[in-house]
Symmetry: C2
Subunit: 445 residues, 2 copies
């Protein structure tokens, strides 16, 4: 047996049935408030499910003076570090957000032997290694179902349900903000800027939307899903990432005319690279999805995730991927699990990176391009451009030529080819005398 088997101590005995479990909550924003409210409302149900009552020992907030309806002020503290190291705290729920400050708190909690439930995708994606190590060393649980797609239980599914299978690919819509924007552009013909403004006005986008629209949020989730699915540590920096800021109303219209919608997809897959080595690819980019595909009809801020596994085949999960309530549902599911282990003993499956596959070179990924370009309207152009593709062994699935005044528009859909070859071909097209402009390049699902 390798390290992964010997790393975990044998068992964790538990406090015994009927014993209370002490909980500290860090952060009282939308999610924290819902968690607190639901813990009160369903106190008895949770006690039955855990095997002992959950007792809230304290709630750490940054501003003690702020008015908070229905919250017992006695529970509030602005000293998070003292709260999490209290002897009567068994589990710490982190719903602050950000990276550096929650990282210090979560590590301190794990080091003090507390199990941790977090909804913080950025934290988990950036620091999975040291968090997992600390949890292993202290023999406690680190749960983060809410970090990916809120209440859609994809983390639990990859950790447990598919533990007897070999995952091949995970792909889906995991960011509600960008899906709302793309959906608004699709249904109203709005520009990116106008759709973003509407999303901000309705509360779907934050004041600084960078993390969402540049794809960073989706990339954090892709890193987490790839790590779990392929038993390999995949970190945020390993995910190649392209956001939606360059998607234009013209792109959306051209996609519609060709039978597609544009979605921001996270795609994680096991590939065999050019040298025949098995590797993991995780990427986020705008993608053309055929209108008849189930992902095409995932609207507004909903999320949907496809998982393909060798034995299970293709599974799809769909639900509300954000919001206080669905996120609280995932946090509380984790909390009940962690509390159950505190009472009855045992430990949930933690990070297990035994497969330790290399991260694929982005250029080795197989994909398909949809290329829209303005070309000269003269004899021989088509043959010239076709030769440019053929030179790198890229075959074309469809070619559509349209007149537009003196110029012609050429819309090419390639067959599957190496990303590096496709990208190099596009660069060459840009310098070709026959091509006036490459207007858009979007990958196909």
């Amino acid at each position: 047996m390798a390290d992964s088997a010997t790393k975990q101590p044998t068992y964790n005995p538990g406090k015994g049935a009927g014993e209370p479990v002490g909980v500290a909550i860090l952060g009282l924003g939308t999610v924290g408030t819902e968690v607190l409210r639901l813990m009160g409302e369903h106190h008895d149900a949770f006690a039955h499910r855990v095997g002992g009552p959950l007792e809230i020992k304290g709630v750490a907030v940054s501003d003690l003076e702020k008015r908070r309806e229905g919250v017992d002020r006695e529970l509030l503290t602005d000293d998070a570090m003292s709260l999490i190291t209290r002897d009567d705290v068994d589990i710490v729920v982190e719903v602050i957000g950000g990276i550096d400050y929650p990282r210090r708190l979560v590590l301190a909690a794990l080091n003090a032997g507390k199990s941790v439930v977090t909804a913080n995708k950025a934290l988990v994606a950036a620091h999975a290694d040291e968090l997992a190590e600390a949890a292993d060393a202290a023999n406690v649980d680190l749960y983060f179902e809410a970090a990916v797609a809120a209440a859609i239980p994809v983390v639990g599914m990859l950790r447990r349900s598919l533990a007897g299978d070999q995952v091949v690919r995970i792909s889906g819509i995991v960011n509600g903000t960008t899906n709302f924007i793309l959906d608004a552009m699709e249904s109203t013909g709005a520009s990116y800027d106008d759709a973003l403004a509407e999303a901000t006005r309705l509360g779907y986008a934050e004041a600084d939307p960078t993390a969402d629209v540049e794809g960073h949020d989706a990339a954090s989730k892709a890193a987490i899903l790839a790590s779990l699915g392929f038993h390999t540590r995949v970190k945020f920096d390993d995910v190649s990432c392209e956001g939606i800021t360059k998607v234009t109303a013209d792109d959306i219209e051209a996609a519609r005319n060709a039978g597609y919608v544009i979605k921001l997809l996270a795609i994680c897959e096991r590939i065999t690279d050019a040298a025949g080595v098995e590797a993991v690819s995780a990427r986020v980019h705008p993608t053309l999805v055929p209108v008849e595909h189930p992902l095409a009809s995932v609207n507004e801020s909903y999320n949907a995730i496809f998982v393909e596994a060798e034995a299970a085949g293709r599974l799809m999960f769909y639900g509300n991927g954000a919001g206080g309530n669905p996120t609280a549902s995932a946090v509380l599911g984790d909390l009940v699990g962690a509390a159950r282990n505190k009472v009855h003993g045992g430990r949930a499956p933690g990070e297990n990176t035994y497969a330790n596959l290399p991260i694929a070179d982005g250029g080795d990924v197989l994909t398909r391009y949809h290329i829209d370009m303005e070309v000269e309207d003269r004899t021989g152009v088509l043959a010239e451009l076709a030769a440019t593709f053929a030179a790198r062994g890229i075959s074309l699935k469809t070619i559509r030529q349209e007149e537009s005044g003196d110029d012609a528009r050429l819309i090419v859909v390639t067959h599957s080819a190496r990303e590096a070859d496709l990208a190099a071909t596009v660069e060459e097209l840009k310098t070709s005398s026959a091509v006036k402009a490459v207007d858009s390049v979007i990958r196909l699902f």
Copy 2:
């Protein structure tokens, strides 16, 4: 704390990392063969995930002489009872099917301190009580993800992911055979008998299709889902059940014309009955689903399950709900979980029926009827029939009248009303002089 909390012993220490886990497999049909093959193929991966190697100690079959390609004959035995009580067996995988014989074996295994993984929905739905009791008494695991919708991880989701939420309704297509038949009737216009014959020819229906077409298989799954979702023991006999044998090609066509497809749905929900008491309803019946609803496009032998919970909102899960490979995926996921607990200690959440809600009287369920009847073509008929509905407080959503020779056809869709009132109204319609025949009554989703 109530009984449920004190019933489970405090902890289960585990063998220690690196220790082998002995597995006995009962049954070597389609699923058992795949389980055995995949355990060989992925032996090392499973050892890493479990924390120790899985060792197959024996495989119980009924016919030792049968040729079985690629199976080590040394492992085979026809003495299942001796195999499962061997000291070196930690986990028993039951994939025989049937009820009485596997029940004896599973109880014997649990009583001997072995954890059990079963794919047997009929067994679990009929005997959940004594199986759960035996597992609790011996402090071992009883897993049955594969019993419902194969690799769609709905059992794990209800047991764990939604442990912090309150499930309101579970509904879906959970039987592939009937979905194949209804889909064939829908797409080819075939009669029920012809579609069944085709399903049998293609291996989608068994030689004796009773359990599938009468809805019994779906009812077993409904019982399991309702038990987990509502923390209440719901057994097969508690599920009201109507199969698809009376669905005609005319019904299918009429449904299509009205914008619906007919699906056999399992519906489990928490309702408040006439006396204001909270209760659980579980039922299986042909149901009109609007064509634009995601369930309408679940074709062939695929399964799809909707779960609605208070905080999570509506979640959907979709995948291949039957077949050797997807079922083996679920069995192996459970096996890895049970083996992990044998190595590291702890125990998976077992049955927890603390809520102990009453089973709803079927008549108290709120539903909607689509009624298709031949009526006399004379003045006053419509008013007369409308009064019949109104007498029981049932309001009508749509009424469509069609001429057909001397007679008229009346197609009525009701608003939501008590099942008992709807059924009594239909009985009254049948005896009304204005009604020549009630041709079909189908519930709406």
